[in-house]
């Protein structure tokens, strides 16, 4: 069943109302271009709605403000503009590049929307980890723990073990303490934490052991988590014989990385590139965030897993590019350059080495022109 009667007349659609999608939509709205924002959730903001901590970056990325406030502000700014339609609890289920038709499922009905340009800002999904008992109730992704605690005010357990000491693991461990959950340990398989030192230092001050070169062997329990069996790892990341120990807990929180959500890009016919440093398969995109399908752009974690501040600027870049795509104008080059410089500044430090390596690889994967088939290299 398709309905076109309710489809708004828009020139562009943005799939995903998180930091990247909101910033992209803002550029379009400011340029007076009618656009549609589609998001699966019941509110705008994406992952921002769960972030209780203050953001890093600089003033233009709203540094120092708490994530959920940033989400609210971006949404409020967007909604001040006429010509913006927001569809919440809507799922974009397809895009047909040949006639530029977007398909959205909403309220049990399918809606066809014709668009001249599409921005995919669909974010990334949490990875699972293979270990015995990893399907037990009480083994939750870090995002799930945040959703329970910070969106619905439900304590996800009494005593947690966090797996992963990247920024997400360290931040969520702190938020667990704030929610009244004891964090028994953070286990990190690598010899050093992957997240910012200041996040780890906060946890250490709260007495949380951060156990590097340790990993989980099993989640214990029959129908719920009752504990974790862990092991030390040697310099070759192999379990050290006889080093296993158990930690009683009722919550195992996995923060072991994200993978870009690329289904819609694949459906649209975008070529993907496999770049581990960016989180796995990402839609190939140029510096203006355009994919291999004309008129289809990508921004945020869907373009490569990074940070919210970079997602915001990538959204801005994609938005600026679409404005120029639909209405070529002379100020584009200067605006683009400014945003690109901001993004480069964020990515200049030692902690962004991985991202820079990933982006370099991405440019190496530049696809051949259509008609010759296959990827670049």
């Amino acid at each position: 069943m398709t309905g076109t009667a309710t489809a708004p007349l828009v020139e562009a659609a943005i799939i995903g109302g998180g930091p990247a999608g909101l910033c992209a939509a803002l550029e379009l709205a400011r340029a007076g271009i009618r656009c549609l924002v589609v998001d699966r959730q019941h509110v705008l903001g994406g992952q921002l709605i769960k972030q209780t901590h203050r953001f890093f970056g600089s003033r233009s990325e709203r540094a120092g403000q708490r994530g959920f406030e940033i989400g609210k502000q971006l949404a409020a700014e967007l909604l001040q503009h006429d010509g913006v339609t927001v569809w919440l609890e809507g799922t974009a289920v397809g895009y047909y590049a040949e006639d530029r038709t977007l398909l959205v499922e909403r309220d049990g009905a399918l809606c066809r929307v014709h668009v001249e340009a599409l921005i995919l800002a669909t974010g990334a999904a949490e990875r699972a980890l293979a270990f015995a008992g990893n399907d037990l109730p009480g083994v939750y992704g870090a995002g799930a723990v945040q959703t329970l605690m910070n969106v619905y005010g439900v304590r996800p357990g009494e005593r947690a073990v966090m797996i992963g000491a990247g920024n997400i693991g360290l931040i969520v461990a702190y938020q667990l303490i704030q929610a009244g959950v004891e964090v028994a340990a953070v286990l990190e398989a690598a010899p050093a934490v992957g997240g910012y030192w200041v996040h780890a230092a906060k946890l250490a001050r709260a007495g949380v052991p951060i156990m590097t070169s340790h990993s989980i062997v099993a989640a214990l329990g029959t129908d719920q988590v009752t504990g974790v069996r862990a092991t030390k790892l040697d310099a070759k990341w192999q379990p050290v014989q006889g080093s296993q120990f158990e930690v009683p807990c009722d919550l195992v929180c996995l923060a072991v990385g994200l993978s870009p959500l690329t289904e819609l890009a694949t459906l649209a016919g975008c070529q993907l590139a496999y770049v581990p440093e960016l989180g796995g398969y990402v839609p190939w995109h140029d510096e203006e965030m355009q994919t291999t399908v004309p008129g289809v752009f990508v921004a945020g974690d869907a373009a490569g897993v990074e940070e919210a501040s970079s997602a915001m600027i990538e959204g801005t870049l994609a938005g600026l590019a679409v404005v120029n795509y639909l209405r070529p104008h002379s100020q584009y080059a200067a605006s683009r350059k400014r945003a690109a410089a901001q993004l480069a500044a964020l990515r200049a430090g030692p902690t962004a080495e991985r991202i820079r390596a990933g982006l370099l690889k991405l440019s190496d994967h530049r696809p051949r022109l259509a008609g010759t088939g296959g990827e670049g290299k």
Partner: protein, 174 residues
């Protein structure tokens, strides 16, 4: 990045050698309260420089620069303490005549301590090193939900104490 200790590079907590690079000298410490920014990693972050109204945190060249305090301009007002996204800034005051000093630290847990409370004073690894007395707890709306806690400790612990444990535990309800 500058050479850092094993503990800092592995798990984010500075050791004495890392701290020595950023601590103001004894003479300045004895003169009055001063901010100590325990931020050692070149991450893209600069709100501290904006937070200071006295220009005591030097302006950043690049967003990834390490923050630097100008101890001559710092008066220990602690505005930066509640703005730092990493909760990495502390104001230390060992300028008094007696045996005691104070540490102002950011606090985002419940229950909030109250002035007069006797608390466990913790080092950077969460170990109790002494008892502390809460002198002040400030949490105005302008601090955006970060409380500024002033805890009195023996002066020789003022460069060590970086946390407190208030009440029986961290639980806020049943």
């Amino acid at each position: 990045m500058t050479r850092c200790s094993e503990q800092l590079g592995r798990a984010g907590t500075p050791e004495a050698a890392d701290l020595a690079r950023i601590l103001p000298d004894d003479e300045r410490l004895r003169r009055g309260p001063v901010a100590i920014i325990e931020c050692f990693q070149e991450i893209p972050c600069d709100p501290c420089a904006d937070a200071c109204r006295r220009g005591a945190i030097l302006a950043f060249d690049k967003i990834t620069d390490l923050p630097r305090v100008d101890p001559e301009h710092c008066n220990g007002c602690a505005l930066c303490v509640v703005r730092c996204p990493g909760l990495a800034i502390f104001v230390v005051d060992v300028s008094g005549d007696g045996d005691m000093g104070t540490v102002k630290l950011p606090y985002e847990y419940l229950p909030l301590p109250r002035p007069g409370d006797d608390v466990a004073a913790l080092d950077r690894l969460g170990q109790e090193v002494c008892r502390g007395k809460i002198v002040a707890v400030q949490r105005p709306a302008a601090f955006d939900r970060t409380a500024l806690v002033t805890v009195e400790v023996p002066r020789e612990q003022a460069l060590i104490v970086r946390g407190i444990r208030a009440g029986q535990g961290r639980r806020s309800d049943g």
